[in-house]
Symmetry: C2
Subunit: 328 residues, 2 copies
Amino acid sequence: MKKVKVAILGFGTVGQGVYRILIEKRSQLKQMLGVDLEVAKILVSNPNKPRPHAAKELLTNQIEEILDIPNLDVVFEAIVGEEPAYQYLDRLIEKGCNVITANKVMFSKHGKSLQEKAAKHGVQVGFEATVAGGVPVIKTMDNLLRVNKVQRIQGILNGTSNYILTQMRGRGMAFEEALEDAQKLGYAEADPYNDISGQDAFRKLMILSELAFKEQPDWKDVKVQGINEITSQQVKEATEKGMRYRHIAVVQKNYKTGEVHATVRPELIDQSHPLYSIEEVNNAVAIEADLLGTVTLVGPGAGMLPTASAMVEDYGDMLTKTKNVISI
Amino acid sequence: MKKVKVAILGFGTVGQGVYRILIEKRSQLKQMLGVDLEVAKILVSNPNKPRPHAAKELLTNQIEEILDIPNLDVVFEAIVGEEPAYQYLDRLIEKGCNVITANKVMFSKHGKSLQEKAAKHGVQVGFEATVAGGVPVIKTMDNLLRVNKVQRIQGILNGTSNYILTQMRGRGMAFEEALEDAQKLGYAEADPYNDISGQDAFRKLMILSELAFKEQPDWKDVKVQGINEITSQQVKEATEKGMRYRHIAVVQKNYKTGEVHATVRPELIDQSHPLYSIEEVNNAVAIEADLLGTVTLVGPGAGMLPTASAMVEDYGDMLTKTKNVISI
C-alpha cells in the first residue's frame, strides 16, 4: 500500500486532534482511503515543551524542515492567525503539496489566492474545518452549487455566543455570568473578544460568501455586532413573546443588482425561523437555494475531534478527485 | 465542449423535474460541470399522451431504444416500484452507463447488487435522491464514513407523516382531517398507505443502514409502525407536557455484538431531541458518529425540484471522481 507523508502545522487542540486520528484510526483510514498516512513532522513553536502524545523527533520549529520533506503529500494547518500561516501554505503549495486548513482568520483573507495558486500547481486546498467545525457546510455547498444558485446563507457560526444566549434564556443568567460559565467549560477563550464581538462569525461568513457567490462584500460595509450588549431583561421579554435572540451571520446576493450584502448581529427570531431551535454550543447553517429550497445543517461547531475529523475527511475527499496529484 | 448523452426513465414529477433542470439550467450546467448535457430519450409508459413540456420525438416506451443509444453516459431513473426499474438499470450498467436513481423501493432491495455490478463495469451509481429528497444525507454520510464510525442514525424520513403530526398538534386536527389536508396540498398520494404505514420511511432507513453499516437488519425483524393509530387526544396530552410525537426511523449498530437493529415508529420526544423542532413536510436525519458527534441535516424531503436537483448534483459529483468513465 502506498505510504503518504503528512505534516501537521500547529499543535494546539485541533492539530493534536488530527494527530490522534491519524494514529488511532490508522487501520480504518488505510482501509477507507487506500493509502497509509504517516506523520513525518509536526511544526510547533517550542519543540522542547514536553508533549506526552507525540514523539520528540517529530517536532520542529523550522518550516524549512517541513518544506524539505521529500514527497510530502499533504499538510494539515491549524495555526492561529494570518501569518505566518499564509506564507507557509503558499510555499508548500508551490512545492506541490496539498493543504488542508482550519484557519479561518487566514483563509477568509487569503483563501482565493491560495486556491488559485493550488490550481496552477495541480494540488488541492481543503477548508471544511474553517467554518462550523465538524458540520459539512463547505462540501454541501460545493456540491449543491453545481446545479443551484444560492440566494442567502444564514448561520449560527459562533458556538460560544450561542451557548451564552442559551444560558441567558434557559437559566436566566446575566451575560457576564454566562460568559464565565462558558469559560469554565472551555467553550470560551480566556480572551473571549473574537467570539463575543462577532469577529469570529464574520470571518467564517466571508469564507461562505466567497464560496457561494465567488466574492465577498467590502469588509468595511459589513455591520458586525456581537452579543455583549444584550441584557437579561431583553432576553426575558423575548422569551415571554415566544421569541429568541440568536447571533446570526447572514450573507445574500441580489441577482438583479449583483450586490452581495452581509450582516453579523443578534436577531430576534420566532419559531418559524430555521435557526430558532439551535441550542448550546451547536453551530448551524441554513442555505437557501433556487432549486433545493432551504437546507439546514446542524452540529458541533468546534472541539478537538469534530474539527480534526473534518480535516481528515477533506483529505479523503481529495483522494477521490481527478485533480489529485497522488497516484494510488 | 464535450456533449454528454442523457436519458430519463419515468416522466412523473421527479423525471419532469430532471428534464426541466437540464433544459432551463443548460448554460449554468455547462459552466459548472464542463460538459453539455443533451437529453436523448425519455422512457414513458404511454408515448402518445400529450406532454406540453417535452418534444414528442424524445418519448419512447421501449427500453431497447434507450439501450441502443450510442455513448449514453447517464440515465436518471425515477420510475415507481421495483420492477422493471431494477432490470433496466442492471442492463444499462452492463452497457457501461452511469445510473442515478430516486427509486427507494427498488434501491433498498437491489442497491448492493447494482453497486457491485457498477464497480465491475467501471461506472457509478448515484442514489442521493432515494433518501430525504434534496437533503444531502448520502453524500454527507459517504464522506464522514471515511474517518468516522457511525453509531446510530435517526430520521424523520416521511414528509407526509410529519406534516400530519404537525397539523394534529398545531391545529388540533384529527388524523383523518390532517390526512385529507395533506392530500389536498399534494403532500399525500390518493393512496397514502406507503406514507402513513411507515413503509416508505422503512425503505429509506434500509438504504441508510446499508451505507452506514454495509448491511441491513433482517427485514422481518424490523418493527414498522405508522402514525395512523395516534389520536388527537394523545397529541393533546403530549403537547401539555411539552413533548411531541415524531415518526422516527432509527437504525443503530452495536459494535460489540455486531448486531444492527432498526425500528420505525412514532416516538414521544422532548425538546432535547435533535428531531423535536422539525416541522411540516421537512425531513431530517441525525447522524451520530464517533468523532463528529451528532450532525443533523434538515430540508425538503420531497418535491419536484429538490429531488431532481439532488439527482443532477449526483451527476456533477460523478464527474469529479477518478472512477468516472467520461474523459472530459
